[in-house]
């Protein structure tokens, strides 16, 4: 599997996956940190991918998602958005509905 296929596979099979700068234990950007904090506040399991591990991740990811910036949060294979959208959904009380999709969609 090449990197582009790997990214597509991970997004399609991981209930909640966050592409971010740094790790969820040690975010290296305020926007990535904001998304981690929101997800942690719901106590949900999620996979983090540090885009600094390989510069090509960012390129292939953006080609796949048609989204130019990091972080990018996917739930059940769908792009939810970056930090602005995640924080906005959280503040509007809509985030739990979004995250529930991860629970009802079977992963392969």
């Amino acid at each position: 599997m090449n990197l582009a296929e790997q990214i597509k596979h991970d997004i399609e099979t991981t209930p909640i996956i966050l592409y971010m700068k740094g790790t969820k234990e040690q975010p290296q950007c305020g926007f990535s940190n904001a998304v981690v904090q929101v997800l942690n506040s719901y106590g949900v399991e999620f996979k983090d991918v540090n885009i600094f591990e390989d510069p090509e991740i960012r390129v292939r990811l953006s080609e796949y998602s048609n989204w130019p910036t990091i972080p990018q949060l996917f739930v059940s294979g769908e792009l939810i958005g970056g930090a602005d959208i995640v924080v906005d959904l959280h503040n509007k009380g809509e985030m739990s509905t979004v995250l529930e999709r991860a629970l009802v969609t079977p992963s392969q």
Binding site: Q28, F31, N66, W67, P68, T69, D84
Partner: protein, 107 residues
């Protein structure tokens, strides 16, 4: 709510180019662009040198009828498309609030 622009950047500034591109693409009823690059100076140090080639950080509030009926992801994609190659170039991060005129009235 004050609808006048937050500031009048000089015409060659990145904020000004952002303003032009978003205006052309989305004919916004309200458009406020704030350059908050100064809040992110830490990006230029240590491991964050990776970020150093990047440009400024901006926050945009955009009110446009083009957003009617669109989910947030699609709204942001419209803005990213308008901004084009500035992303990853002169613009490192663009934080945005995307509202329809009706949502703006209620805010």
């Amino acid at each position: 709510m004050d609808m006048t622009p937050h500031e009048s950047p000089d015409i060659n500034s990145t904020a000004s180019i952002l303003q032009d591109r978003i205006t052309d693409a989305l004919t916004p009823a309200v458009l406020q662009i704030v350059d908050d690059s100064h809040l992110h100076k830490d990006h230029l140090q240590g491991p964050k040198l990776l970020e150093a080639q990047g440009g400024g950080h901006f926050t945009a509030t955009i009110v446009s009828a083009e957003f009617d009926g669109l989910p947030l992801v699609q709204r942001h994609r419209l803005v990213y498309a308008a901004v084009g190659d500035l992303m990853g170039g002169k613009v490192h991060a663009l934080s945005m609030k995307t509202l329809t005129p009706a949502e703006w009235e209620q805010s």
